[in-house]
């Protein structure tokens, strides 16, 4: 238990006493142990850091907890690697020099010094400059802005305005001093009827971007005051990425996007492509190309006019020729020469119509007749066959009837007797009284007789 807290405390006190002064501290006779104030401790830590860490250091790490610019203009973030992290602060001046936006996940090389922030008992890296690891700061800034504006749809083809075919009032938005202006004027000199206006703006350096943006807005506001503007050509000669940087600034990009006047860009050399180029309504690769593109149709206008004149002359000549031919044809027309013929013709036409109508009617009648004739024999046959069937059935009935007829019975030798007076047929011997005259019918005739006697036959006799 040699290292108990109290042992430790004592040992430290002794060391401190020997460090400070050979004299014992006031108040404590032998012990000389006086607690440090927090401020003293913090000061000691700060001193230790300053002696142990170089004044200016560069450190590489990944950004996290990036705060974005504070109202104060300061920037706070954390640099970290897989096993450690350090708080970072970037004061307003340094932060305002950053061209890109500090985002979490970016690998950065920070330059600064380590300081202790006593009020919160923290040490932190005070960053003087930040450099993206592996690529340039401007490149990073470009990519960030490009991604942002692309997401907003500012580069979309459908929001680009049409470039007038024959721009006759053009504003050159560039610096009076730039080679770009001379390049453009050289091309445009061949089209002296184009009204050229130069709006001078600085095209590089601090403050250039806001001035370009303001000029675009100014032109849009006041275009009618100067007789209208068909087109703005925004241009600058070649230069380094830094030289062209104004054209990669968001403020310029937004001014171009907001412009109601179409904008053609011609910035730098062929290989350069700025954010302004991406937002512009037409992106020419150089100032010269911009001038060529906007005058493309003007260059052919003279030829076009010659062609139009020829076409117009030919067309009107043809029209006159046609009219003359129509007139001649009309003069030769029969109607003009013999109007009565025409009426006769109509009459004839009418007659023919009537005739054909009658014919048609007659045809229909005949047709009906034909159909009737075709049907009649079939009707007859059907009727005949039906008769035959019926007469056969009648014969059969006749035979049956004959079989039942009393004549047939008479033929077989039977007779029918009836009382002559009443005609009543005698079915019983009791029905005839003595003296009744009877008629007996045979198959071939009748005899008359008188009843003389009457007896009833007994069955059991």
């Amino acid at each position: 238990m040699a290292d108990s807290f109290f042992d430790f405390h004592e040992r430290v006190a002794k060391q401190r006493a020997s460090l400070r002064s050979p004299k014992p501290a006031t108040g404590g006779a032998d012990e000389g142990v006086e607690p440090l104030t927090v401020t003293q401790l913090t000061a000691a830590i700060e001193k230790a850091i300053k002696s142990g860490v170089p004044g200016t250091i560069t450190v590489r790490g990944e950004v996290s907890n990036a705060s974005g610019r504070q109202a104060s203009g300061h920037l706070y973030f954390t640099l970290k690697d897989s096993s450690a992290c350090i708080n970072c602060a970037m004061w307003r001046d340094a932060a305002s020099r950053l061209q890109f936006k500090l985002e979490d996940g970016l690998e950065m090389i920070a330059t600064g010094r380590v300081s202790v922030y006593a009020p919160q008992g923290r040490y932190q890296l005070q960053v003087q400059s930040l450099q993206p690891a592996g690529r340039g700061a401007l490149e990073l800034a470009f990519r960030q802005l490009q991604a942002k504006l692309a997401a907003e749809g500012l580069f979309a083809a459908e929001r680009k305005k049409a470039i007038p075919l024959y721009p006759s009032r053009i504003v050159l938005l560039t610096s009076r001093a730039t080679a770009a202006l001379q390049d453009i004027l050289k091309v445009l000199r061949r089209f002296p009827w184009i009204k050229l206006m130069l709006y001078h703006v600085p095209v590089q350096g601090q403050g250039s971007a806001p001035q370009i943006a303001q000029a675009i807005a100014h032109l849009n506001r006041h275009k009618t005051d100067i007789g209208g503007v068909d087109l703005i050509v925004l241009s600058r000669g070649g230069g380094s990425l830094e030289d062209l940087w104004s054209f990669n600034e968001e403020i310029v990009a937004r001014a171009i996007a907001a412009s109601r006047i179409p904008i053609v860009t011609g910035i730098g050399h062929e290989v350069d492509c700025t954010i302004s180029d991406l937002v512009a309504d037409y992106h020419a690769h150089t100032p010269t190309e911009a001038a060529q593109v906007i005058t493309r149709n003007w260059g052919r206008a003279g030829d076009a006019l010659v062609q139009l004149t020829t076409r117009l002359d030919r067309a009107i000549r043809q029209n006159i020729l046609d009219a003359r031919q129509r007139l001649t044809a009309a003069e030769r027309h029969e109607f003009l020469r013999r109007p009565l013929d025409r009426i006769q013709m109509f009459r004839q036409l009418l007659d023919e119509r009537q005739k054909s109508a009658t014919l048609a009617l007659r045809g229909r009648l005949r047709n009906a007749q034909h159909r009737l004739t075709a049907v009649a024999p079939r009707l007859l046959i059907a009727a005949q066959s039906s008769l035959k069937i019926r007469s056969a059935r009648l014969d059969a009935f006749d035979r049956q009837l004959q079989a039942l007829s009393p004549q047939a019975v008479l033929n077989r030798g039977y007779t029918i007797t009836s009382i002559k007076k009443t005609g009543q047929i005698l079915r019983s011997s009791t029905a005839a009284k003595i003296g009744d005259r009877l008629l007996t019918r045979f198959a071939d005739g009748e005899t008359e007789s008188i009843v003389q006697d009457s007896r009833q036959m007994s069955l059991f006799e």
Binding site: L185, W193, L312
Partner: protein, 83 residues
């Protein structure tokens, strides 16, 4: 020539568009002789107008700048500035 036939179009582009329209009407035989003659007259006026445009020599470049009151002001560019 009627007055209506002498009104200048707003721009070169419009003049060409109108010329095309006139030509398609006359060439297509859509219009009668009298109307086509009127259109021909208008067409020749437009062509003359366009030739005049191409013949005009502006040459003078104007310098635009923001005036103190925020409006736009123009001044001619001097020869030295141009070259």
């Amino acid at each position: 020539m009627s007055k209506k036939n002498q009104i200048a179009p707003k721009s070169f582009e419009e003049a060409l568009a109108e010329l095309e329209q006139i030509l398609s009407k006359i060439e297509g035989g859509e219009v009668g002789l009298e109307e086509s003659l009127a259109k021909y007259e208008r067409g020749t006026f437009l062509i003359r107008h366009c030739r005049n445009v191409l013949g005009a020599a502006e040459k003078q470049i104007e310098i635009l700048s923001k005036s103190e009151d925020g409006a736009i002001q123009t001044e001619p560019m001097s020869e030295e500035q141009e070259n």
